[in-house]
Each structure stands twice: as C-alpha cells, then as structure tokens.
C-alpha cells in the first residue's frame, strides 16, 4: 500500500493506494501517528486508490478516529469505491463516519 500525505491548510490529506490488509494497515497506523505527533489533528483520508480493505484496515480507521477525537481533532474519509465501499457498508462503518465524494468536499469541512 502506498501512503502519501500533504498539508492542506489546517488539515492533512492522506491518499492511500493499493491494499489495506493486516500487514499494511500497521504502516498506515505508523504514518498517522507521525502526523499526529507533528501537531496535526484534522485528517482527511482519500480512499480512492484503495482496492481492498479487511477488518484490520477498518480497525485502523476506527482507532485513528478515536485518537483524533481524544485530542479535539477529526477524521474525514472520501472517495470510497468498489470493494472498499461495500465493506464499509456491510460493516456499518459508512453510517458511523462522515464520508465525502471528493477530497475537496472533505477538506472544505475543515477550517
């Protein structure tokens, strides 16, 4: 899985590409921890390039959300497609997270 992050105003946009499984989701955890340690608390995660996610990936997203909320920040998700969208729907995660059709729409929520 490729993880690319860019600072966008008060938020950090993280783009994921590839497969988020039990092995790669820990790389995501570490990348986010680094961003949070750097002082950023509002993250937008773009899942548009992600083709596969397992429960480990969902667990990482959930843990990240809890971490950010605990610090007064927030997590927004965007561009859920295909299998990723289906797994979010089946697991009930799509009703728990605010999801957006584009990174721009998600970033507009963070001022």
């Amino acid at each position: 899985m490729e993880i690319a992050s860019t600072k966008k105003g008060n938020a950090v946009l993280i783009r994921l590409k590839g497969r988020m499984d039990v092995v790669t989701s820990s790389a995501f955890d570490q990348a986010c921890d680094k961003i949070i340690l750097g002082g950023d608390k509002s993250l937008v995660v773009d899942l548009g390039g992600l083709e596969y996610i397992s429960s480990s990936g969902l667990r990482s997203v959930l843990a990240l959300d809890k971490k950010l909320k605990g610090q007064g920040g927030k997590l927004l998700l965007c561009n859920l497609t295909g299998m990723v969208k289906e797994v979010f729907n089946i697991s009930g995660f799509s009703s728990m997270f605010p999801t957006f059709d584009s990174a721009e729409a998600a970033l507009a929520q963070i001022k």
Partner: protein, 146 residues
C-alpha cells in the same frame, strides 16, 4: 513449506504467523486463476481468507508458540471454489462468537468479531468442524449469473 494434494484439494502448509499471509494469498490467486472470476468476486474470496487466517495466526496458538496453518483449495468447474483452513491450535469455533453490534455509535464501537462477521458475509458457505485435534474451516464460493 509443505505443498501437497489430498481429496482434490491442493494444499499449502506454513507457520501460523502473519509473515505467511502473502504466500497463502499468492497460492490461492494461482489456484483460482483458471476460473477467470471477476475482480469483485476475487476480493470477496481474498477477504474471507485473510480474516480466517488472521484469526488462526493471532489466536489459535499460545503467544510465542510456533504453530502451523494450512490452506487447501479445490475447484468445482469454474463456478465453485472450496477453501479449507486447518490448524492444530486450541479448539475454537469462530461462529460461536458474539456478533458485532453494527448499530452502535462510533464512541462505543468495539471491533472484536468484525473479521468473522465479514468472513461470513463474503463466503457463500462457511462451516466449522473439529476433527483429529484440528480446527477445520470450510469456505465455499459460488459464481452466479453472467
């Protein structure tokens, strides 16, 4: 590594550690290649397999112990794929677990049981049995329609 064939199942046996996961994924990918299934169906198979294997790799054996896990695969024409996951760990029926509460709010949310829930949603058939001191999980996948 141990590759074998038994009852029409091609089998691969590896240490029950997360490092083995990608080898099992490659093994299954090659086995089902000739079925030429659409990608979305293959993702379902891969997801169910990952959840089954992670369950064994994380919980079947005492921490720090070395155990094994074996994946078997059998094709029935191009429309049916049977996957069998066996391990020699403690007796554990994953379907005896409590179902995750999918309606709980984010703050209360617990993620335990989610993997097994996804596995059951992805597979068209899922059954557990305990035999010869092994946990045997059988997963069936069926391609329907054009």
């Amino acid at each position: 590594m141990h590759k074998s064939s038994e009852n029409g199942f091609a089998r691969l046996k590896l240490p029950a550690t997360l490092e083995s996961l990608s080898r099992f994924q490659d093994f299954i990918r090659k086995q089902v290649q000739e079925c030429r299934w659409p990608q979305d169906k293959l993702f379902k198979l891969q997801l169910a397999l990952e959840e089954a294997l992670v369950n064994v790799m994380k919980y079947a054996y005492p921490e720090g112990g070395s155990g094994w896990v074996e994946v078997g695969c059998r094709l029935e024409g191009r429309t049916h794929v049977w996957v069998e996951v066996r391990d020699g760990g403690r007796a554990f029926n994953p379907f005896d677990c409590e179902k995750p509460d999918l309606t709980s709010t984010l703050g209360q949310r617990k993620v335990g049981g989610l993997g097994i829930f996804l596995l059951q949603q992805m597979a068209d058939h899922a059954a557990y049995r305990r035999e010869h001191d092994m946990n045997i999980l059988t997963l069936g996948f069926r391609l329907t329609g054009p």
